[in-house]
């Protein structure tokens, strides 16, 4: 039992996110330091500066932070919440009762969550009551405050964790692969991530008072558990006691739901674990918009299915979506708080920027997700199906390349002199290879590298379907409702062209099929370029929206700017397409050495890698 408990506990830290050869305890210590840091930082700043936060908002902030982080942890470790198929297949044949394995898993979760909540709230629960204590407060009163705050955060965090546990159990019972379950999990992750970005706003006394006066539904749970803290400390306001009772009842309900669904799913596990080939897998709905070219359509559908069904990729996308929502909401909120009565132009600019912000961040999230592989050992399929020859450019199929007119090719759109000026050496190389390409055509052989480019262009189709179309439609509908159809049209034109420019820039020189190459962390060098990236993004999104708002009286300027952006996007696309077509093939790096996890039921209990 103890061995199993330790095994399950360690398995939380040994997963996809751990680099081969890394020590799980190092990860645990790093994570603990990371999560304890906000509490320490806030308390240290208050101590050093001698300032005192208003106690109630500060306690509310730390409670919200603890609840959100507990929820996110449960969502990130979603697959480990229940004993899974592998646990069953490995542990069931062992000479120990299955119930003991389930109990060990529950104990491991209990310990992990306790340690996690304690770490997150270590400094806030211990230092905040001391820093904010009145000068004449007794030691007992301070201890009472500490205990009440600890109880409040523990109850709040446990409440959200138990509900997610219940959801996990229900998902296992009623069909894990259902799109509605996946969508609900993603929406929840995005909402929690957005909340984490917005939570510091709670420390603003005005905002706190506004919310506490009449808590809206979405933040009511925060005030139930804040009620527990305040009721236990004997807060002057009598309104907290009823809220505390609601909190206690909600906690009991969450516990009952979690116990019910956990037990139900564990009872059903043998049937699920031993079943083969059950359930139907349907393609995600945007699959219907696949391009006509078979290679491009195949990669497009594969990428969509991966985004929809891979836990790691969908979580990553949810994180970026949550970040995008948080940026939009925070910019709207900060506008209200910074300017008590913002001008119409200020409000309009922020509202106009929303679709661009969503597009930019979802596109970045997708580009990030593309770089992370799924089942790297299965990419042999793409490698053996690279049925294109390397150095022969298919001149007749490419734009901006001269071709044999005698075969009825389409005349090039741009005169050769311009082409040479724009594409320089690349174009000269292509011209040099033209003779070879024409020979291939004469032999009746299919153009080759166009097919490579087609497969690589599938990444662009994904960005168009997921990062451009939905925000553009959302922006158009919002603009139509708020300002009327003429502004909505301008918004579609302006934002659409800027969005196209953004995705072309993101896919510049991206010679990979999404999800098929090993991920080298740190290659993007965020530490070095992070600020520049952020500056570029915010200037692009918010600056463009402000310009659009200013140009409303002059639609011709908006049309001209859109045309310029569109021209730049087309130029980038053609340049990129030429670059891709000149490649020897898609880029596949060598797969890393396989990593084998061992259980070590023998003398040593350490998990090691061989």
């Amino acid at each position: 039992m103890r061995l199993l408990f330790r095994f399950f506990l360690r398995s939380f830290f040994v997963g996809d996110g751990l680099a081969p050869g890394s020590d799980p305890s190092t990860l645990a210590i790093t994570a603990a330091a990371f999560f304890a840091a906000p509490g320490l930082a806030v308390c240290m700043v208050m101590t050093v500066s001698g300032s005192k936060l208003n106690t109630d908002p500060a306690v509310a902030f730390f409670l919200a932070l603890s609840m959100i982080l507990a929820g996110l942890l449960a969502l990130v470790l979603w697959d480990d919440l229940l004993p899974n198929r592998l646990d069953f297949l490995i542990l069931r044949p062992q000479p120990l009762p299955w119930s003991r394995a389930v109990l060990a898993k529950l104990c491991a979760w209990g310990v992990l969550m306790t340690a996690f909540i304690a770490t997150v709230n270590l400094f806030s629960c211990s230092m905040l009551p001391i820093v904010n204590a009145a000068d004449q407060a007794s030691g007992i009163a301070v201890l009472r405050r500490m205990g009440a705050q600890a109880l409040g955060v523990a109850a709040g965090s446990a409440w959200i964790f138990l509900w997610i546990l219940a959801l996990r159990g229900a998902a296992a019972v009623f069909g894990e692969g259902r799109p509605v379950v996946r969508a609900a999990r993603l929406a929840l992750t995005a909402a929690l991530l957005a909340a984490i970005v917005l939570s510091p706003e709670l420390t603003e006394p005005d905002i706190y008072r506004h919310l506490a006066g009449a808590p809206p539904l979405w933040c009511a749970p925060l005030f139930w558990f804040l009620g527990i803290t305040h009721a236990l400390t004997g807060h002057a306001s009598a309104a907290w006691a009823p809220l505390a009772w609601i909190g206690a009842r909600q906690l009991a309900a969450a516990l009952a739901a979690a116990a019910l669904f956990y037990a139900w799913s564990c009872w059903q596990l043998p049937r699920r674990a031993l079943a083969t080939a059950s359930g139907r897998t349907r393609g995600p709905w945007p699959s219907a918009f696949a391009a006509g070219e078979p290679r491009r359509a195949a990669v497009y559908r594969f990428a969509l299915a991966t985004l929809a069904r891979s836990r790691r990729h969908s979580l990553l996308l949810a994180a970026w979506l949550g970040f995008a929502l948080a940026v939009v909401l925070a910019s709207l909120a900060s506008l209200t708080w910074t300017f008590p009565s913002p001008t119409l132009a200020q409000t309009d600019a922020v509202a106009l920027a929303a679709p661009l912000v969503l597009c930019c961040l979802i596109a970045v999230g997708l580009r990030h997700a593309f770089a992370i592989p799924i089942e790297i050992r299965a990419n042999w399929l793409f490698r053996v199906a690279e049925t294109e020859a390397a150095p022969v450019a298919a001149a007749s199929e490419l734009p901006f390349t001269a071709t044999s007119r005698s075969r009825g090719g389409v005349p090039p759109a741009v005169p050769p002199r311009w082409r040479q000026a724009i594409f320089g050496r690349l174009h000269l190389d292509r011209l040099r290879r033209r003779g070879e390409a024409d020979q291939r055509e004469a032999r009746g052989e299919a153009p080759q590298n166009v097919a490579v480019a087609q497969r690589l262009l599938a990444a662009r189709d994904i960005l168009l379907a997921l990062a451009v179309l939905p925000p553009l439609l959302l922006g158009a509908v919002l603009a139509w409702r708020i300002w009327g159809w003429n502004i909505a049209l301008l918004q579609v034109l302006f934002c659409g062209s800027l969005m196209l420019l953004w995705i072309e820039a993101l896919l510049l020189r991206f010679p990979k099929i999404p999800f098929t190459c090993p991920y080298v962390s740190g290659r993007a060098n965020l530490k070095l370029w992070g600020f520049a990236y952020w500056l570029t993004f915010s200037t692009f999104a918010f600056g463009s929206a402000a310009l659009e708002r200013r140009w409303w009286p002059h639609p011709d300027r908006i049309v001209a700017a859109s045309a310029a952006a569109l021209a730049a996007a087309i130029a980038l696309r053609l340049w990129n397409r030429n670059w891709l077509a000149a490649l020897p093939g898609c880029q596949f790096e060598d797969a890393p050495e396989p990593v084998v996890q061992q259980l070590f039921f023998g003398a040593g209990t350490d998990l090691s890698r061989s």
Partner: protein
Amino acid sequence: MAPALELREVSRSFARVPVVRGVSFTLRAGEVCGYLGANGSGKTTTVRMLVGLLPPSSGDIWFAGQNIEANPGAYKARLGYVPEEAYLYPHLSGIEYLELAAGLRGLAGPAAKQKIGGALEIFGLSGSAESALETYSKGMKQKILLAAAMLHDPDVLILDEPLSGLDVSAVLLVRCIFAALARRGKIVLHSSHDLAVVEKVCARVIVLHQGRVVADDSVANLGALMHHESLEDIFKELTHQADPTRSAEDLVELMER
């Protein structure tokens, strides 16, 4: 001229350790050839070089009179491959995987759908075609791999342990498929440990030992040459295998202590 696949003094080393040493043989059209060897003899490395996943350290591979390095795309277009391990994308369903394989080969539309539907039906996978591959048994995955390798009607079929996990009826079916392909002038290289199947299916066997080809002939000729009746005895002698009866006794005794 019927295309032939030829290895010329092909070698491959990993970290300066030679795994395949100067392997040469020619596979002719209409031939089903067994590729045998003990674990670590270099079979899978040879197969990976043959399908273009791994470049040889030295030597060349020629197909239809042309070095495959000169135009790997054209060679791969005529190649079907079943890998040793059933590495598939677990989140895709069987039909989605086959559609992906077909799409990557430029197949689409009703023709591709017909091929995929037919393959699923013949392999008995129609009922589970829409289930995720992660729920498939080993044999079902192997059938999907076989179907994916044949979708584009390749001239060369390279199979690394293709029968692993298949049930008896599927093994019989695959044996008949090999024969049918050979009759149509395809080249089939069947890398395997299963000597009984190779003996029945393959007209010719190539035996690899420590990275070198130690035998290349028909089973009958090898038997006559080495005075053995079964491929198992031939294989044991060629690869210097220890007496399995003695080894088994040693192991059981060790465990009894």
